[in-house]
């Protein structure tokens, strides 16, 4: 039973790492007081999801998804799908990375506005100021 548990973790360590990262990010977003720490937690959360997708595209013994033949044009060799890693998750995650950067930009802009309005970035202080 102990050996099974170990082989499970050993064969799926990437997915488990992703889950742990995701939970760290989620915890930061919920429990931290400082707004910038929450924003960093959001970034960690999204990065974990990106890592998850990218790791689904891996194939044992395969190379990067760029076909290495020259441009002889008519010397087409047969391309085996198992020789190249899956390009689709990489494409999707290019989009997700851009979305995460865009969200980060808008979040920082809002945080700057909050700072100008309340003079602080700590959430408990802001709540105290709102109650007055």
């Amino acid at each position: 039973m102990g050996v099974e548990l170990f082989t499970d973790i050993a064969s799926q360590y990437n997915y488990l790492g992703v889950v742990i990262l995701m939970m760290i990010g989620l915890y930061a977003m919920i429990a931290k007081n400082n707004l910038v720490k929450k924003i960093i937690g959001m970034n960690i959360f999204q990065t974990a999801i990106i890592l998850f997708y990218v790791s689904t595209g891996a194939k044992r013994g395969a190379t990067i998804p760029i076909i290495q033949h020259g441009h002889n044009g008519h010397g087409h060799e047969v391309i085996h799908a198992a020789e190249y890693i899956n390009p689709l998750p990489h494409v999707l995650m290019l989009t997700a990375i851009v979305v995460s950067v865009a969200t980060l930009g808008v979040a920082l802009a809002l945080a700057i506005k909050v700072y100008h309005q309340y003079g602080t970035l700590e959430e408990d202080e802001i709540r105290g100021r709102l109650r007055e």
Partner: protein, 276 residues
């Protein structure tokens, strides 16, 4: 809050851990993700689009519509930062700081005082005082053209090596931001103003959408590049490759412009007078 957060995280994490147990084996070439749609991309993409880099082929052609909206996302973020932060009335600052370069003395001139002209001996510095650093300024000036050429290379060579519009656009934007950081924001805005970045941002996405509309006008579906074969004078497969370059250029222009625009707005909190 911490206790609730910890409980949520432990519950959610355990649920995900349980699910991970049933995933297909990592790296298995026979997993469903590798057997259904992607073999077509790997085996046929170069024949259908004449682009060896499969990621670029899928990004700019097969799923080109997604990429157009991705560029729109980054443009919307630039627009959002502008709308949220920009303060358009010019505010006269309380005091200005000037540095006398030959001696290193900092002058502080209150409102209403006579300002020295910016010349070889006086330069205006930001309220966050930093020492005059010749090494950083010279190195930045030296590196910037190489950075920009590398960025253009990454955009143009995206068909054959890892790269493409987004990567090259970010490097190009970073080159300009490096200039803004090593000198100061005002000098960068003098060279590439906010209006230029905003209009270039829209222009980049318009290049992408415009290519699609051109395909539609010529009778094919939106973003079906083979319709442009007649215009370009090549066969449909090469037309796809060339059109992918055009849209990647559009993406590069948009991304670099928006990166600089967001930097201008964030670093000066919308006032565009003093940056980082």
């Amino acid at each position: 809050m911490r206790v609730i957060g910890l409980l949520i995280v432990i519950a959610f994490g355990s649920l995900l851990r349980y699910g991970v147990f049933f995933f297909p084996e990592w790296g298995d070439p026979a997993s469903p993700a590798s057997l259904h749609v992607s073999p077509h991309y790997i085996e046929e993409a170069t024949a259908e689009t004449a682009v060896p880099n499969l990621v670029t082929a899928v990004l700019a052609d097969y799923r080109g519509y997604d990429t157009m909206f991705e560029t729109t996302v980054i443009f919307a973020a630039g627009l959002a930062c502008f709308m949220l932060l920009r303060v358009l009335q010019r505010q006269v600052p309380e005091c200005r700081l000037y540095r006398h370069i030959p001696t290193g003395i900092t002058l502080r001139i209150e409102k209403g005082g006579k300002l020295p002209t910016e010349s070889g001996s006086f330069e205006r510095i930001d309220a966050n005082w930093v020492p005059h650093d010749l090494i950083i300024k010279t190195t930045a000036r030296f590196i910037t053209p190489f950075l920009q050429i590398f960025a253009l290379y990454v955009i143009a060579h995206g068909h054959h090596s890892p790269g493409g519009g987004f990567q090259g656009g970010v490097i190009l934007g970073a080159a300009i931001i490096m200039f803004a950081i090593s000198y100061d924001l005002r000098r960068s805005i003098q060279r590439i103003g906010e209006q230029a970045t905003a209009v270039l941002g829209s222009a980049g996405v318009l290049i992408y959408a415009g290519t699609g509309v051109l395909c539609m006008v010529l009778g094919a579906d939106f973003l079906n590049y083979s319709a442009l074969a007649g215009l370009m004078g090549v066969d449909p497969v090469m037309a796809r490759s060339h059109s992918m370059l055009i849209v990647e250029i559009g993406v590069g222009v948009a991304v670099s412009a928006v990166m600089v625009w967001i930097y201008y707005n964030l670093s000066s909190a919308g006032r565009h007078d003093e940056g980082l």
